[in-house]
């Protein structure tokens, strides 16, 4: 029998996911976007953008 998870609980899970990523990201010393970190973030954004916009509507 499938278990129904309330919407609020699911929202809290998503919030937890975001906060977890924030905590992990904050552990990395900040750098300028013009440096290597900038290119790293740029590549990650590019891959996510390609994946997110690559399917047919």
């Amino acid at each position: 029998m499938p278990v129904s998870i309330p919407g609020t609980a699911r929202a809290l899970v998503r919030l937890g996911l975001v906060l977890g990523i924030v905590a992990a990201s904050a552990a990395v010393p900040p750098d300028s976007l013009t440096g290597a970190a900038g290119y790293g973030i740029g590549v990650a954004l590019a891959v996510a953008a390609g994946l997110g916009s690559g399917t047919s509507p």
Binding site: R14, S25, Y39, A49, G50, G52, S53, S56
Partner: protein, 191 residues
């Protein structure tokens, strides 16, 4: 459009058409990225960072609250009259070039908007060209690889019809946007 294009390429199992699509998409996408960054040099320095921060905040808020991200249903798909089944390479060139415009098809990923904002902020055409070329490659590889896939790839096709591909793309999008938001909040945008 990806489905339409895949079918078109599959019509002749044309490897050349797939490669033309990949090349056209990547080249045009890189040019768009360089152009966006060049335009950024004409704008105030902080515009890109402000736009990036706003997009991150909007997408993350909607993801947490509604489990979905904004979808801009503009423009519609490319005209089907562009499909010429007897000339798959020309069709691939047309679709690849227009798809490479990146913003000429519906924008689903906040990462794409933030990427454009950061290209504006850096004002570096090289940065813009590189990252947007990557967008073009990632978007077009599934189409370019279609001729190499088995004709009856029922398992992959069945999986693609589920909600998982879109769901994983949303999670990838949100994860990267969260990293960018954290980076900006830490003052990482400072030079």
């Amino acid at each position: 459009m990806a489905g339409t294009m895949t079918i078109t390429v599959r019509g002749g199992r044309s490897i050349a058409a797939g490669l033309v699509f990949l090349a056209a998409n990547t080249a045009v996408s890189a040019a768009i990225g360089a152009a966006i960054a060049a335009v950024g040099s004409l704008l105030p320095h902080e515009v890109g960072l402000v736009v990036a921060a706003v997009v991150c905040a909007l997408y993350l808020t909607l993801f947490i609250g509604r489990a979905r991200v904004p979808f801009i249903p503009w423009p519609r798909q490319l005209p089907p009259t562009w499909i010429d089944r007897s000339r798959p390479r020309l069709t691939a060139l047309r679709y690849g070039a227009v798809w490479g415009l990146t913003f000429a098809t519906p924008v689903r990923a906040g990462s794409l908007l933030v990427l454009a904002a950061l290209a504006v902020w850096t004002s570096s055409p090289v940065f813009g060209a590189i990252v947007f070329a990557i967008v073009g490659v990632v978007r077009s590889v599934p189409v370019a690889a279609a001729p190499f896939r088995p004709p009856d790839d029922s398992e992959i096709n069945a999986w693609r019809r589920t909600a998982w591909p879109r769901r994983l793309a949303v999670y990838a999008d949100v994860s990267v946007l969260t990293v960018v938001a954290t980076f900006l909040a830490q003052g990482g945008g400072g030079v």
